[in-house]
Amino acid sequence: MSNKYNFDYLDELEAEAIHILREVAGQFEKPALLFSGGKDSITLVRLAEKAFRPGKFPFPLVHIDTGHNFEETIDYRDRMVARLGERLIVGSVQQSIDEGKAVEQKGKNASRNALQTVTLLETIEKHQFDACIGGARRDEEKARAKERIFSVRDEFGQWDPKRQRPELWNVYNGKIHKGENVRVFPISNWTELDVWNYIRRENIELPSIYFAHDRDVITRNGQLMAASPFVNMDEEDIVERKKVRFRTVGDISCTAAIASEADQIDDIIAEISQSKISERGARMDDKVSEAAMEDRKKGGYF
């Protein structure tokens, strides 16, 4: 793409994402935007504003709430929804557990991450969503590197990597049968650094846990985990107060912090540029096996 009119790489990524969001609006009856409170979905919200304002979003925001949240994320979510004046739907993992549809994991490394899939699929079914917009990026993980921007899922939310539709030029085929739905990833082509550079350029506010702060943590499997009632701790776990920040925001029980002094966005960008560990390196859910993400996607995960 020509840059003769000062169209740089962030402009190009932004224009592509807006195009994808508008295709969702045009092609689907009941889309939704999956909002986790993380920087990627916050970026999606900004892009949706650019795609549809001064009109309303043609979709609600949907939060699959594990109940094991960082308080800061929920505060942020509620303030953001109030500012936007858009509709928020919350799918509760706790409720899925209470109704017996999902079973809490046991043991020291128990997490509600996997249970999100149950609640997500239930929420999709209940509201008859035919498209769910998510903030996944292809640079995160090698199974994601293979996924289409419009990714068709069957009635059970399953991804079949062998039966993906060819996706050519910037034409997206959103035709589906009843019961199927499409996961749409508008920032597929962004890297973690692109997201941060965009957040800086657009001056987007983020939940405070992304910035360095003092927190009680324990060290487990070489990772720093927040000392929280949602993390199963025993006498072997030693609580220490450290200056940390989070690179991703997920369920508190599976999201590790990193030791960091970066309390300004410029410092964070400098830190990521030099980092030798990928952001999913701090996600316990990806550590299970080489095909952990592929297997979860086949089962209906984002």
Partner: protein, 416 residues
């Protein structure tokens, strides 16, 4: 800084995934935990070094078989450019995946094994590059370490390829001798080939000028969505949202809406909280018109002084992408930008043998077949020829029984 999208053509035997792995590795784009995961993997090179190809094979089946089945996208960046790599499979049974990866690329890297030279597969991959209209080609002559870094071998292959490039009308072709395995001329200039005075592959990719795209300057914007807040304050607000696919629209330009043919003038161009004087190819904007015109999703706004072709019959190149063969008796859906219309394949003009480039008559069109057809659409299509505009000159075919994308088409000529 801008973005260069490129794709790599070659088979696993040519060291394609190794080349990509090498680019990522030598630009420090592989992070410690990813490297650790590769080192823990069971696959190693014969000499015990880490198999860089594992980096791009993302699916279990690919790792098991040691081949690339589907397109994988990889990202890296230097201080000059952001790069998006479409790593595509080279085997003939995955031609459709290569076409997919090539459709969004500005540049193609064609891998040639120095020991084998230009082979059937090279011809096939180069044909696809010319079919998809990729303007820049790098012929990476790989495995130079296996031929003693011989200049004679490199020159012979270069000469052979030049005649192929001429036949396929490939315009900008660059030849680089490399060894992906050893890292010669990938990121760093190799001192093992003093006879080669050109750039390393990465240096070339950083410099290549993609601004000189011979893309159309005719202004086109397919309408994706109509923004109508319908609030008290913005009662009469009506904005046409879309992405400009070619040319530049300016405020006060006279425009025509197709297929209706209605005309108006641009009163305002908006981008979120900004008003723009103009919007050019690639930008997603909202256009306002001076008069009330009936416009909805699927319509195209064009500059009135440069109208596109308009027809229900068009000659197009077709790449068939479904396991179920083309059926000329049924009606498909054709999706051209935001427009979807019914479509039949009125005639198969010829099929191309993509290994020899021979054209021949055919009754059948099966998975991975490529050839020329006549498309007949229910509605008038406002299009440009693919050679002029990729975005407005291409479309996909959808089988409405399965909803699968079954064909990729590139508009080439008017049909009578």
């Amino acid at each position: 800084m801008n973005i260069l999208k490129f794709f790599t053509a070659g088979s696993v035997d040519d060291g394609k995934s190794t080349l990509i792995g090498r680019l990522l590795y030598d630009t420090d784009s592989i992070l410690a935990d990813q490297l650790e995961a590769i080192q823990n993997a069971n696959r190693k090179n014969d000499d015990g070094t880490v198999d860089l190809a594992i980096l791009t094979d993302g699916l279990r089946a690919e790792r098991e078989q040691g081949i690339t089945i589907d397109v994988a996208y990889k990202y890296f960046q230097t201080d000059k450019r952001k790069f998006i790599i479409a790593d595509t499979p080279g085997h003939i049974q995955y031609t459709r995946n290569m076409v997919t990866g090539a459709s969004t690329a500005n540049l193609a890297i064609i891998l040639v094994d120095a020991r084998n030279g230009v082979v059937e597969q090279t011809i096939r991959h180069s044909y696809l590059v010319s079919l998809l209209g990729i303007k820049h080609v790098v012929v990476a002559i790989n495995k130079m370490d296996m031929v003693d870094y011989s200049e004679t071998v490199f020159e012979a292959i270069t000469q052979k390829y030049k005649s192929l490039a001429e036949e396929l009308k490939l315009q900008d072709v660059t030849y680089i001798p490399v060894s992906a395995l050893k890292g010669d001329n990938i990121v760093h200039q190799s001192d093992r080939m003093p006879w080669y005075n050109g750039e390393s592959l990465l240096h070339f990719l950083e410099q290549v000028d993609t601004d000189v795209q011979e893309e159309s300057d005719k202004a086109r914007m397919p309408v994706q969505w109509v923004i109508r807040p319908q609030t008290d304050e913005l009662h009469d607000y009506r904005g046409y949202a879309g992405r400009v696919v070619s040319g530049t629209f300016k405020v006060n330009d006279k425009i025509t809406v197709l297929p209706s043919g209605a005309s108006s003038t641009i009163s305002k161009i908006e981008f979120f909280d900004k008003e723009l004087e103009e919007a050019s190819s690639g930008q997603s904007v909202t256009i306002h018109l001076a008069s009330d015109v009936d416009i909805s999703r699927g319509d195209t706004i064009v500059n009135s002084s440069a109208l596109p072709q308009e027809s229900k019959l068009v000659e197009a190149d077709l790449c068939w992408m479904d396991t179920k063969a083309l059926d000329t008796s049924i009606t498909y859906l054709l999706q051209h930008n935001s427009k979807v219309t019914k479509c039949k394949i009125a005639e198969v003009v010829y099929k191309v043998d993509i290994n020899t480039l021979d054209k021949h008559a055919a009754d059948e069109f099966k998975l991975n077949d490529i050839g020329r057809v006549v498309l007949k659409t229910a509605d008038n299509l406002p299009f440009d020829f693919y050679g002029e505009s990729k975005a407005n000159g291409s479309a996909i075919l959808i089988d409405s029984r399965t909803n699968l994308t079954v064909g990729a088409t590139m508009f080439r000529a008017l049909a009578d």
